[in-house]
């Protein structure tokens, strides 16, 4: 009975998504662009839920339970995605752009890392868990990633952290980029114009060393894929194996063989670790490939409509009010999570009278489209509904309201994730996964920060749960 009901719900949700797509296309064929985001989001959601694919789990479960399943899954996804990313870059079909490089990425990753452990899921993980009916994740996503982010980019509360040289540089940099003074009002604006605008971007294949040494398209495969992604990811896999899997595996192997083990056993141990959770590793491979296909499709649509940003299509359709003063909206062209949720928060806050257009983030760069015309936000909705369908099909959907301490952890974690994703201009997907695979070393900086933050988050939860266990055991 329950199975039947779940199947019906899965069909209803999928049918609704098809209906929405059909309505959009009938209103204007330009909306095929939004429809592409919807269905890639839907596919991500299904895959994330099936593989229990969560970047928070990757480092958290290592520290909390000694389980490398998810860390390995993420690294496998990264490796596959980087090969596809290089293929796309070499055929001029990539939408990837590197991010400003600097220590801010590490610090932001650290804050985000603590937040994702507290809230119980990373930015993408929280969305798929909402699809499973987990309302703690809803709290984290709505109040942290949506509202928290929007507030963060629009307030002056952090001016005390801004050095005078950033304030001075902001005036010069903003003038050089024709940013009106009235659009530079918040602490985050000063940070962007005074610090971020002055940072260099690094993509290994485009550095002087590699572009001179490697002719033609080989630079994408050797610099971006091999050097920036495959080798570091393989090293991290070996380190994880050494510290978390090797001891148990070699002990079992020695027992089976009745003595000595050699190098081939070590390789078998690494392979055993990679394939220990088939569903996670399989999803790692598929997510890597789908993320590449997503870039290909978005770039293809941009070429088809002769645009570089969806804002141009919105303007053609008469929706200029959705766009920034540059005529753009947030349109990453690939898998991304947090910026669009910040836009959703900004849109809601404007309904309560808060002017959200007076800053660089919304006013100049990303616009503030209504949610139903926000392409990247539809990707986030797609993730939620895709995960919901998969959870329903596997009878794992359960509506769970947060209670007690979970409300506190959800809100705190969400806010830290929101605050941690803005200074680095991305989250576990945009700032880590996409950047590393695209050949931008700042992605690894963010990753190191996230892992460090997760370590502190787990330390805290270990202490907290130890206290609760001690209380429970008083009676024994």
């Amino acid at each position: 009975m329950e199975e039947k009901r779940n199947q019906i719900w899965a069909f209803i949700v999928t049918g609704m998504m098809l209906l929405v797509s059909a309505i959009y296309y009938s209103v204007n064929p330009y909306y095929i662009y939004v429809i592409a985001y919807i269905w890639f989001g839907f596919a991500y959601g299904m895959m994330l839920q099936y593989g229990r694919f969560c970047f928070a789990s990757a480092s958290r479960d290592l520290f909390a339970a000694g389980v490398p399943r998810m860390a390995v899954g993420v690294l496998v996804a990264l490796m596959f995605f980087s090969v596809i990313q290089a293929t796309l870059a070499s055929t001029n079909m990539s939408t990837f752009h590197p991010a400003p490089f600097g220590i801010h990425t590490l610090i932001a990753g650290l804050i985000f890392g603590v937040g994702m452990v507290l809230s119980g899921g990373c930015a993408s993980g929280s969305l798929y868990k909402i699809g499973e009916g987990n309302m703690t994740s809803f709290l984290a996503a709505f109040f942290g990633l949506c509202i928290g982010q929007a507030v963060f980019v629009d307030v002056k509360w952090f001016n005390f952290l801004i050095p005078q040289k950033w304030v001075d540089a902001a005036v010069v940099n903003a003038a050089a980029r024709d940013i009106p003074v009235e659009k530079m009002t918040s602490s985050f604006d000063t940070y962007l114009a005074g610090y971020i605008f002055g940072r260099p971007t690094v993509q290994l294949s485009h550095t002087e060393v590699f572009s001179n040494a490697l002719p033609g398209i080989s630079k994408y495969f050797i610099a971006d894929t091999l050097i920036n992604t495959l080798i570091p990811a393989a090293v991290v896999i070996c380190v994880i194996y050494y510290f978390y899997s090797r001891k148990g595996f070699i002990k079992k192997r020695a027992k089976q063989k009745g003595g000595q083990t050699g190098f081939s056993d070590e390789l078998a141990g690494i392979w055993n670790m990679i394939t220990a959770s088939k569903r996670t590793t399989l999803m790692g491979v598929i997510i890597g490939m789908v993320a590449g296909l997503h870039i290909f499709v978005m770039k293809g649509l941009q070429n088809r409509f002769e645009i570089s940003n969806f804002g141009e299509l919105l303007t053609r359709m008469g929706h200029q009010s959705d766009t920034s003063i540059r005529g753009t909206v947030f349109d990453p062209g690939y898998w991304y999570i947090t910026s669009q949720e910040g836009q959703f928060g900004g849109w809601i806050l404007e309904k309560f009278g808060w002017n959200m257009h007076d800053n660089i983030f919304f006013g100049v760069n990303n616009g503030l489209p209504v949610p139903w015309r926000n392409p990247a936000l539809w990707m986030s909705f797609g993730i939620i509904f895709g995960a919901m369908v998969m959870a329903r099909l596997s009878n794992e959907f359960k509506f769970k309201l947060p209670k007690g301490e979970l409300i506190v952890w959800g809100l705190m974690g969400g806010l830290l994730m929101g605050f941690g994703s803005r200074p680095a201009l991305g989250c576990n997907i945009g700032a880590f996964f996409i950047r590393v695979a695209g050949g931008d070393p700042s992605g690894w900086l963010y990753g190191v920060g996230m892992v460090g933050g997760a370590f502190f988050g787990v330390k805290f939860f270990n202490w907290w749960s130890e206290r609760k266990m001690a209380k429970e055991m008083e009676s024994f």
């Binding site: 479960d61 339970a65 389980v67 119980g120 996670t280 959870a391 947060p402 609760k468 429970e472």
Partner: protein, 83 residues
């Protein structure tokens, strides 16, 4: 909201972490196993599917045996014998 960790028999224990989401079920499960003796059996009840995969792999790595795994009414039941 509270987790429950009870002694249910001579060598059997029960951990109920229903309502909890990641990472609490796996942390409580790991800590509960640490508290019991080798050979003892821990029955874990949870309703967070994402934690199950982690708990099962944790047991496999450390050498605990998952004697039973079933899902009923949205709850997941794991019976683990400490190895």
């Amino acid at each position: 909201m509270a987790m429950k960790f009870e002694k249910t028999g001579d060598n059997t224990y029960m951990l109920d972490v229903c309502g909890y989401v990641c990472p609490h079920p796996q942390i409580y499960c790991k800590k509960s196993i640490e508290k019991i003796a080798e050979g003892d059996v821990l029955q874990v009840v949870l309703d967070n599917p994402s934690s199950v995969e982690t708990i099962v792999q944790m047991c496999d790595q450390v050498g605990h045996e998952v004697l039973e795994r079933k899902t009923e009414g949205g709850k997941i039941y794991l019976k683990i014998q400490k190895g």
